[in-house]
Amino acid sequence: MVITNDDIETLAKKIEQARTALPHITSLINAFSPLMMDKGRWLMEVQEYAKKFTVDPVQYHDGKPLSQQGQLFSPDDPWKSAGLAVARGISLGFPNAARDMTALSSQIADGRLDCYALINLSELQDEAPFASRAAELDIEPEILLLFLRFLGRFMLTKKARDVTAELALLSWAKGYCPVCGSFPHLAILRENGQRWLQCGECSHEWKFSRLQCPHCEHEDPANTSYLFVDGNKEDTAFTCTQCQRYLVTSSRPTELHQTPADLIAITLAHLDIILQEKGFTPMAECEWNTLGSPEL
């Protein structure tokens, strides 16, 4: 689906509505809304660029996500513009990281830093080279990690959007994302109560059974429940005591302009706190639900 300026304006309005209606998430909205806006603008900017991934229907049918069928990322992908958009979004949302992001942006802009080479840092299995690269770039490792997380997320979203129409013709019955293999960070109940799982990495959505745990595929009602706040049965969280995981869920059966999943997930952050205090772990850890200690 093509992103237009109207979509970006709608997103801005939805962010403002959430900021006004839910003052307890103001800090999260302030932190992540620049990234949400920049992601939308960047996706609009690069929508002409299409290096489509070839889907193998047989492997897909066997539950193999695209990320395991081949290399999703290519050096030809629009890494430079993605890196600049992410750096801008982080510097606006996280004032503590602004200095680092300014330095990073100038290196990306003048070609001294290749974001494609940088994203491959996340493939490293050892901390030392990562820390050493962060030191070379004069960036705090935690900030570099945040940058890489969003850089990968921007590009994965682009990749997922390019294959959405093709995947709509194929069936997928797994609880992990058919594009990148991540577990969902949110579920949205749409028309007729269908549960659509939302990937926090590539923003792909896919339909999944209402009563089955997406994480461990357990479906005994004795071990699965959902948490809700009295007076608001629209926003809930599916819980599974078999795997001790949870999935925040929002019921939106008749939404004219769909609210971005990341924004919905942020509005449910209070449920994340409540469930994590009860000993549950989110199915997918994202920045907006990793609320406790860094060691969570």
Binding site: P23, H24, I25, T26, S27, L28, A31, S67, F73, F94, P95, I119, S122, E123, L124, Q125, E127, F130, A131, P141, E142, I143, L145, L146, L148, R149, G152, L156, C180, E191, N192, G193, Q194, R195, R210, L211, P221, T224, S225, Y226, L227, V229, D230, K233, T236, T239, H270, I273, I274, E277, E285, C286, W288, N289, T290, L291, G292, S293, P294, E295
Partner: protein
């Protein structure tokens, strides 16, 4: 800021876990206070979801019933989107099933009787009511029972009693009632679902 080995390894493969917000300088006081308030005021509840089949007709639509684990009471009934027959949709009767649970405060819980020519309802117990119904049916049937029609054919019927079924009885109750009516010779039997 120091990145732990565990945290570093968890991010392998471009998709890893999130960076803790507390380490990025975000103030989560208001959010944590909101969550604490909900917990403190016992507003946080757990519910169980179970599936069942709609009782009303032979189509066999599936339902998801949500039950509050604290009160043990159903607070929502909806169509099951994963069931191949109804795919989450329900007819008007199925969609109204929740209104038949005890949550509906308008639902009649006692027998109300209005005497002939009276304009007042009186509460009656089931013993009295069933005996009264049985008495009237027996008297009417004994008076009007017809064994043969005008052509002399054997009919064994009573035409002065009609039975009209409610929309809120299920398939099996409908069958039992129709058998009971026919055993008494009733021929005027109808049901709300037909109209």
């Amino acid at each position: 800021m120091k990145i732990s080995r565990r945290r570093f390894l968890s991010m392998s493969g471009a998709i890893g876990s999130g960076v803790a917000l507390s380490s990025l300088g975000l103030d989560l006081t208001a959010l944590k206070a909101h969550a604490a308030e909900l917990n403190k005021t016992d507003q946080v509840r757990m519910a169980k979801q179970s599936t069942t089949i709609c009782c009303y007709c032979s189509v066999g639509c599936s339902l998801i019933c949500s039950t509050d684990k604290m009160t043990g009471k159903i607070f929502n009934i909806e169509g099951d989107p994963d069931h191949p027959i109804n795919e989450g949709s329900l007819c008007a009767k199925g969609a109204g099933l929740f209104g038949m649970t005890e949550v509906n405060e308008h639902r009649l819980r006692k027998v109300l009787y209005r005497a002939p020519k009276s304009n007042k309802w009186e509460e009656k117990d089931w013993d009295w009511s069933l005996k009264r119904i049985a008495r009237l049916i027996k008297d009417t049937r004994d008076k009007d029972f017809t064994t043969h029609n005008e052509k002399g054919e054997l009919v064994n019927r009573v035409e002065s009693i009609a039975h009209y079924g409610t929309s809120n009885i299920n398939n099996e109750e409908c069958w039992t009632l129709s058998v009971a009516c026919r055993a008494m010779g009733l021929i005027n039997i109808d049901h709300q679902a037909r109209v």
